[in-house]
Symmetry: C2
Subunit: 453 residues, 2 copies
């Protein structure tokens, strides 16, 4: 190993760009290899995706590398969600009582900003159209194929970081090591994306300060505002059965499905049928693996280590948090990369395991319980509790989205408090007023349990 | 597709041989391709393995293809387990009060018998040294490489069955299809095998009518009797930490580990140190995937579909049961292979999911709770209940091992009855006598819950 072999990052997506910036700022030479072309080039095809919803965790990580401002400038601000019922009525649910917001931005726009930010870092170089063809794990050598010429070259790396997403090729090489634990679980639903442009007069077609949801059980549509006043909509459907990607085969099928499920949206989507058929649906997968590293040579971060369902909008936030925490581990372990990788895994794994489970649970909640009056009443009581007792109670969704509390701790607190909520929802007339001494007592008690645990 | 394209089976291990026999008996041309050489050839290296413990499920499946007698003739009969404590005392636990037994046989001996049985079936041909190199799933073409010559050939198959074990190459091809759910989870322990030969006078060194267990928490030794009076012992150790495969590096380490953990076995294993170092440890993995099939072209059976931990000794039994149930599905679906594969998955998947979980739980039980007095007292009460109330109660282990009840149903009954057991173990003096009216009442009540559920 020469004195200044570079840190190699595979993947120049969201995680790869942020990681490159973090490592570049530390003075390391960083070489990033991206399989696809430069997405800032107008000729490179954009892959459709759900919008990214940045929240506190992700933004804190961007702040440390000076990227917060440029990213937020490109995002739309959503202070709550608007739920569109089948009868056309729309209910507004603010995310919090204190102005917490999600920052909605297309993956493509976010990636462009982060790429330019990473490239501006001295020491960081990004190579496009380079496919990771082979890794010599023990020697730390990565082999890349230039997808435009077919030429291959070998790069001697000081460390190799796999930031190459859910279908990570770096992880595929780790998978060949002994006793590698691995799991990939797909949802029975997939999604496709559609655009809602602004109205003729230039105003957004929907309230641009909210995320719009049309929940219909196993089927769902979500509209994310963009900075430009357009909405990037995701349509979630089962792969099989009624109103599914398998059965929606004709223009008539698609229109009928929309008219039945999302009647108030039909008029907002120009060329709805063409948009629907323009590309195959994207699948949704949860990926878990253990370990995330190989000795002191290779480390996975972001989706490559832990792809999760988008139910909490946490994928990119968790990936950025990975980078921030890895940076802390480097601070703390002073040059001992073996220790850095172990410490990183130890600190992140419990939280990411919990997050993966939460996303699966929350997905079921979103698709199955969202029309259940009992469930909705409980949610409403929780919202009121947060409003009246901000010092004593915060729903899980808020802890996940609007704090940097480790996911595992958020879940632990939520589970401990849920017994108190069970009791509180049984109180006669609770939905009319939560401001009662016994409610305060139950919540305080549950918090004491929390600190004791 | 010609009229008589063969059914192709990949793998001539235990599952492959039994499946070949089942399908051959139906009159199909069956071609079996095995990656390794013919194990009946003395020059072919035997891979060490835990012994197989055949129980009712496996034996019923063998009975249908006329293989029961030849297999049992080659097996040793164990009516119970002998548990060797650290102080040298040995406790005998009969498997049941009615003479239920396990039939212990080395994997190699069982495979030899089943190979010859399959080959004797008209229409069944077995090809050795043929590695499955590629599958064209949609066309049903399998490509095999002759590992002795390097030559490859393509076989047009009517159907392809993956019976090629935990590291199935057929499954690897299914994994490339869309939205394939897959998981591999390794234990932190591995095992190595050792032989205990008969004494100088020809008598077995231990009671040959029992399976011998030396439980030491995370470490364990198990001695399986063979027909010849030898014992095939498995030594289970963690990969890392004290007394582990990582730290046992010298002759002295190994002897010290044995003297500390298995003092009464040291004198029984000739060349203990040489045996220990003669090969790397085997890992233990749980593999789950979904689906097990591709259209009406490909089906996985046995470990290829569902590799489980050996804690219940069910791997081969479950694989043979797969073959029996697949045979039933063929009977019932009259030539519609698409329906056969769906029916097979629907019937087997719930049971195999349950079995995989049970094996992980039971493994933890074996390694962690086996020295817990509360746990042992409960087990003893259960044993006594089975003795006194054979019509009302059967422990889970017995339902798994000594009945053909679907695994999922066995677990359901066991979970429902466990509340009754919780109450029964609290009864003052219950360990002295279980013959009390309230015990009968609790058990009957739990069984009524069972039938209602």
């Amino acid at each position: 190993m020469s004195k200044r072999d570079p840190l190699v990052i595979v993947g120049a997506g969201l995680a790869g760009c942020v990681l490159a910036t973090y490592l570049g700022r530390r003075g390391y030479p960083v070489e990033v290899f991206e399989r696809h072309g430069d997405p800032r080039d107008a000729h490179v095809a954009k892959r459709p995706s759900l919008n990214i919803t940045l929240c506190k965790r992700g933004i804190s990580a961007l702040e440390r590398i000076g990227a917060q401002e440029i990213v937020l400038r490109a995002a739309a601000v959503a202070y709550g969600r608007k739920v569109h019922a089948l009868d056309g009525t729309v209910a507004y649910q603010p995310y919090s009582n204190t102005g917490d917001a999600l920052f909605s931005i297309s993956r493509a726009a976010l990636n462009d900003v982060l790429l330019s930010h990473a490239e501006a870092q001295p020491g960081v170089r990004i190579h496009f159209n380079r496919r990771c063809a082979q890794l010599d794990l023990a020697d730390g050598v990565a082999h890349f194929e230039d997808t435009t010429t077919g030429a291959t070259n070998a790069v001697q790396a000081e460390r190799i970081f796999g930031a190459d997403g859910a279908y990570s090729s770096v992880r595929q090489h780790l998978q060949k090591t002994e006793r590698f634990n691995y799991s990939q679980q797909y949802l029975d639903q997939g999604y496709t994306t559609m655009k809602i442009p602004p109205l003729a007069d230039g105003r957004p077609a929907l309230d641009a300060g909210a995320i719009h949801i049309w929940p219909r059980g196993q089927r769902m549509s979500i509209g994310f505002p963009d900075r430009e006043g357009t909405f990037n909509c995701s349509l979630l459907l089962p792969y099989r059965g009624a109103h599914s990607f398998e059965t929606l085969r004709t223009e008539e099928n698609v229109l009928q499905c929309f008219q039945e499920l999302f009647p108030d949206a039909v008029g907002l989507v120009p060329g709805l049928v063409e948009q629907f058929f323009s590309r195959p649906p994207n699948s949704l997968v949860t990926i878990r693996c253990n370990p995330w590293s190989y000795e002191d040579k290779v480390l996975l971060v972001g989706d490559a280590a832990h792809a999760i369902l988008p139910s909490y909008g946490q994928g990119a936030n968790a990936a950025f948090e990975d980078c921030r925490i890895l940076d802390q581990c480097i601070d703390e372990c002073g040059g001992d990369w073996y220790a850095v990788f172990r410490e990183f895994e130890q600190r992140r794994r419990p939280s990411l395991n919990v997050l993966a489970d939460l996303c699966v649970e929350h997905f079921v909640e979103l698709t199955e319980h969202v029309a259940d009056p009992k469930f909705l009443r409980r949610r409403e009581v929780e919202r009121r509790l947060e409003e009246v007792y901000p010092d004593l109670y915060q729903p899980l969704y808020s802890m996940v989205s609007f704090t940097s509390r480790p996911y595992a701790e958020a879940l632990r607190i939520s589970r401990l408090q849920s017994a108190a909520i069970d009791e509180i929802v049984l109180i006669e007339g609770i939905e009319r007023s939560v401001d009662r001494p016994e409610v305060r007592r139950l919540l305080s008690q549950s918090l004491r349990d929390t600190s004791a645990a």
